[in-house]
């Protein structure tokens, strides 16, 4: 199983290369050697990527590269934090969204007590207000309805 997953890396690259190469071939004009169309360069680079991916796959079949260990909770925490920011900003304004994002990301860190998480969320929100709204004067809706 471990071997199969490690091979997935070059296979993903192969897929990406083929996606661009085939996309260029089918949807874009290639033009002539003299006057290249919009598809020529992506086709060339896409083909090169596919070739490199095949070499990489061959290398990997001989000596599989050890994969990094995934940490789903960390990914979830960061993903959730960014998503919370993007979700709450139109509803509540930037500062409450900031606090939510900090809380979500901090919630997956072990040994981080809730009072500290809340204090961090408040502190970062104040910091964002000071730096971005007051300092740089960026036209944010800081808190909606205020």
């Amino acid at each position: 199983m471990r071997r199969l997953t490690s091979h997935l890396g070059p296979i993903l690259m192969l897929a990406a290369g083929l996606f661009f190469a085939i996309g260029a071939l089918t949807a874009l004009e290639l033009g002539s050697f003299r006057r290249m169309g919009p598809g020529a360069f992506p086709l060339l680079v896409g083909a090169l990527l596919s070739l490199l991916a095949l070499i990489g796959l061959a290398q990997n079949l001989r000596a599989p590269v050890a994969m990094g260990r995934a940490d789903p909770m960390a990914v979830l925490g960061v993903f959730g934090g960014v998503a919370a920011f993007a979700f709450f900003t139109p509803l509540t304004g930037v500062l409450p969204a900031t606090a939510c994002a900090v809380l979500v990301t901090a919630s997956v860190i072990k040994g981080f007590r809730w009072p500290h998480r809340i204090a961090l969320a408040a502190g970062v929100s104040v910091g964002v207000w000071l730096i971005f709204v007051k300092g740089l004067g960026i036209p944010f809706t800081a808190i909606r309805g205020l």
Binding site: F33, P42, L49, V82, A86, I138
Partner: protein, 505 residues
Amino acid sequence: MDLLDNLMLGLATAATLQNLMYCFVGVFLGTFIGVLPGVGPLAAVAMLLPVSFYLPPETALVMLAGVYYGAEYGGSIASILLNIPGTPSASVTCLDGYPMARQGRAGVALFATAMASMTGALFGVVVMVLLSPKLAEFALLFQPAEYFSVMVLGLVAASIVSSSGAVRGLMMVCLGILLGTIGVDVNSGETRFTGGIPQLRDGVSLVVVAMGLFGISEVMVSLRGATQSYAGAGLTGRMLPTRAEWVRSVMPALRGSAIGSFFGTLPGTGQTVASFVGYALEKRVNRNRDQFGKGAIEGVVVPEAANNAAAQTAFIPTLTLGIPGSTTMALMLGALMIHGITPGPRLIAEHPELFWGLVVSFVFGNIFLLVLNIPLIGIWVRLLRVPHHYLYPTVIVLICVGVYSISNALTDVWATLVFGVIGYVLRLFRFEPAPLLIGFVLGPMMEEFFRRAMLLSRGDASVFLTRPGSAALLLAALVLLAASLIPWKRWLMRHNTPQPQDKEA
């Protein structure tokens, strides 16, 4: 005399209150971020990129450059005290810096680092002043074929130093170039690979790619990692090196600076190679070579002088040819382009205030670094004690706010998240994303020059080999590629002691 005039012009640009202030802010923030393990100069520059859009181009570049070499310096603080290199190039500093700290000589090591960094940086600035205008003049002879080939050279160089190997590095470069083709093709006006999404018509934003690949995904990797904060004693003992240590450090500092300046100018090699080679060579020539790895002051001085000299000279190819020597330089290049300035041989002639202002600001910035670091070392040490879990949620939010502030568009935030996940998956499969970013920045220019060269040669692809300049550059790329098969790093470090094993807190 000409040079003097130019330097005066630079002084007039750099010494305005605004530029001095942003230089200071950049150096301070850079050191701050560099001290924190896991967040390198690249993430530091990427995070401050959106802020720089609100500044005039000279000021923006002065600040970003300050962040860059401030972070390089900050990285060495974590290496010496924690044996965790804050930046890859600082890993050599661990070899002697950490043993020095364990002998209670951390203060001396940090002081020596500051002095060596400054020596290296100033040496690099002098090289930059003397070399850049000459190189730019020479590069004016370049035609599209040469430009294309010099970019190939830069990309090959960038991919072979990637820790995941040349083939994987090249794959990342290609992927970056392909991502750069998304959006409207400037020649034909046709849209490419947008999938009908109107926001993609202008292409993927550099800030989004950089923040996603290096900000978000780095936090995903380190969020719950086992990085410990500094729990050791504060700085006790003396700071100033003894007279004998001063004397021992002078020549190594100069040798390190010279080696660093050389490697900095080569595209793609950069500081890490510079500090490795500097250390390895010093070990061959130094009289006290048997003390290396056991806390020799030279072992701190040489890599620091080398990597800071390289940090400065890396600006030479970036500003004169438009070829970034490293990923961070690619970001700088991107920042310039966002401000409507095309880097290349005409930059010095067309924007002298920018180029010379930047050069003079390097001198100021390094003086700030010295001023900042000798008295403030205590603060940085205290910063290392802050538990890291306070840090990462803050970084995530700063990324979100920074991306959102560019054009008040939440789609940018979502796109950054997508690139964060892509970056994480790439790291999981041991693809280092740095070359991707260089490919992404250079890709559009490369395509442009490629198409122009083919047009000029009436569709004859052999033009890249028949023009001697272009052929020489491609040959150099080929040689580099062949050289990457030699395990040089192992060879260089063969006679050096391995890193200290005992990593107690």
